[in-house]
């Protein structure tokens, strides 16, 4: 049933070239003195990296991206985890609510979500339009299944009924049971969800661009600005984005033993 060895080597070699050449080219470009006439860069320098890192906007946009990613992941884990436990133990039939919400998040691309939110909330007197609040809420909507899936899988993998029963027979109330018994047991699931949400929001461009524009510049917004006027510095920023995505998916593998991309945590609309 295995593929012919020669054919296999050719297929894999072409695949590897396609996947790796753009990454290496971007890295070399960010360190080249000049590279538009020769096959290899004419010389190497760290000047572009130094310039781009020393800019004030670099630290600011990086900080903004960390802030919004961290805030979204934290808010989603607080919203999802206790409710998911509650539904799993007390009203398992209503798990369907989570499924429907996940399908919604999954099926609405960023551009359409942004339009729908702007259209509705521009007519509502809440401090949302053009603020980071609406960005945070939109990111939560976008990432909902990434938090719910791993938490639900963790809840399914432990015997929550026996644990809850044991805790309650020893006098623990619902809150104590959740904090002291359930939470430690599903921590790997929460951590996976947290990391998935973090890396998704960190790379988020569409919602930020359309909902808050230049009012709150994140790292991807900064990167796109640079692609318009300085290629070498933009490529340094692109490398940083790739490294962040790679580090988070490695952490994810360590935390949960699972790949970032199981068909359960798909995102659409890059």
């Amino acid at each position: 049933m295995r593929m012919n060895k020669l054919l296999r080597s050719i297929v894999l070699a072409v695949f590897l070239l396609f996947m790796i050449v753009p990454l290496i080219a971007t890295l070399l470009f960010s360190m080249s003195t000049r590279w538009d006439r020769t096959i290899l860069p004419e010389g190497y320098t760290l000047e572009w990296w130094k310039t781009v890192i020393s800019r004030g906007a670099f630290g600011l946009t990086l900080k903004n991206s960390f802030y919004i990613s961290f805030a979204t992941a934290t808010a989603l884990s607080i919203l999802v985890t206790p409710t998911a436990y509650w539904v799993h133990i007390r009203m398992p039939k209503n798990k369907i609510i989570f499924e429907i919400m996940s399908a919604f998040s999954f099926g609405i691309p960023g551009v359409i979500l942004a339009l729908a939110l702007i259209r509705f909330y521009s007519g509502v007197p809440l401090p949302l339009i053009n603020t980071t609040n609406i960005l945070l809420l939109a990111c939560m909507e976008l990432c909902f299944p990434f938090m719910y899936r791993p938490v639900a899988n963790s809840l399914d993998s432990i015997d929550i009924h026996t644990l809850t029963e044991a805790s309650q027979s020893l006098g623990g109330n619902w809150f104590a049971t959740f904090i002291h018994i359930i939470l430690p047991n599903i921590l790997p699931g929460i951590a996976s969800g947290f990391l998935l949400v973090f890396s998704t929001v960190f790379a988020e461009f569409t919602l930020t661009n359309l909902l808050v524009g230049a009012r709150f510049k994140t790292f991807p917004i900064y990167l796109v600005e640079f692609t318009r006027f300085d290629g070498r510095q933009a490529s340094a920023l692109a490398i940083i984005s790739f490294v962040v995505a790679w580090v988070v998916s490695t952490l994810l593998l360590l935390v949960s033993g699972k790949r970032a991309l199981s068909p359960d945590n798909l995102t659409i609309g890059h």
Binding site: M91, I97, A116, T164, S249
Partner: protein, 290 residues
């Protein structure tokens, strides 16, 4: 073991009410940020100053907008089709690899690169295949001139960039299905005198069909909803539907918000059709997995 659940499920009206009480934050979130905005989007797409009308939809059929839909559909179909076909071949090559290290490294690569979308990816392709990109320069030195007949900043350039995330996505989607093809089926077929072609035509591909189709739907939706990569790579030059909606939102084009609503609703139906197809077929695909 289920005693606790029974204990907790005492179905007095009081506890029922309490059960739902705990769901309030979640439901507020869902209603406020999923359901109401989408419903209001749909309803406003059908309304104009004069009241209920399909005028917004009629305006969507200007040649320019029709071209945007055609381009988006064509791009999604092409990258989904190529993604499914090539992804299947690469995934098959990956699981045929004997060395465990090599296999894991390839899967890890596919896993990470699925997330390399958007702006950084678009830029990496400018560096690789732009007018002074490394591949362009290498080909030039061999006497092959990519430019001006090919441009990375065009729809075909965009298709290549999209394949960069479509291909690994397909690999990750199809690997479980390929691993579900049992060696015993192969052995049984061969023992009964089948050749490799017959095995694939009669057993392999029919078993994989639901997975291939459901992956096609996902890849199609993935590409149809994509915006960041397209916008970074080509700006407003390539006429795609997401680019149109975004420029209407930013008010770059004369403010025609009703038109944006209509375009968004049509796109949403196309995507939800794909997501529905995916959900339906992926349950079917799981039948063969144990």
């Amino acid at each position: 073991m289920k005693y606790a659940t029974q204990l907790l499920n005492k179905s007095s009206i009081k506890t029922r009410g309490l059960n739902w009480f705990a769901l309030i934050p979640l439901l507020i979130f869902s209603i406020g940020f999923q359901i109401i905005p989408i419903i209001s989007l749909i309803s406003s797409s059908f309304s104009t100053k004069e009241g209920l009308s399909i005028e917004n939809y009629q305006r969507a059929f200007t040649p320019h907008i029709a071209e945007a839909f055609r381009n988006s559909l064509k791009l999604s179909f092409t990258t989904a089709f190529l993604g499914v076909g090539l992804g299947l071949v690469v995934a098959y090559a990956i699981i045929s690899t004997e060395k465990k290290f090599m296999k894991n490294a390839l899967i890890a690569l596919a896993d990470v690169t699925t997330n390399f979308g958007g702006a950084p990816l678009a830029f990496a392709f400018i560096v690789t295949l732009g007018s002074t990109g490394v591949i362009t320069l290498i080909l030039k030195s061999m006497g092959v001139f990519l430019y001006p007949s090919f441009r990375i900043y065009s729809i075909s350039g965009l298709a290549i960039a999209y394949l960069y995330f479509q291909l690994p996505l397909m690999i990750m989607l199809i690997l479980p299905a390929l691993q579900g093809l049992k060696k015993e089926w192969w052995e049984a077929a061969i023992n009964m005198g089948a050749n490799s072609m017959q095995f694939w035509a009669r057993i392999g591909l029919p078993v994989l069909t639901p997975s291939l189709l459901s992956s096609f739907f996902i890849l199609f939706a993935n590409s149809f909803g994509a915006y960041a990569t397209a916008w970074t790579l080509t700006g407003p030059d390539v006429n795609l539907i997401t680019v149109q909606i975004a420029s209407l939102i930013r008010g770059e084009v004369q403010l025609e918000i009703g038109l944006a609503d209509a375009l968004a609703v049509i796109s949403l139906f196309i995507i939800l059709f794909c997501v529905g197809g995916y959900l339906l077929l992926s349950t079917k695909a799981k039948r063969f997995r144990t």
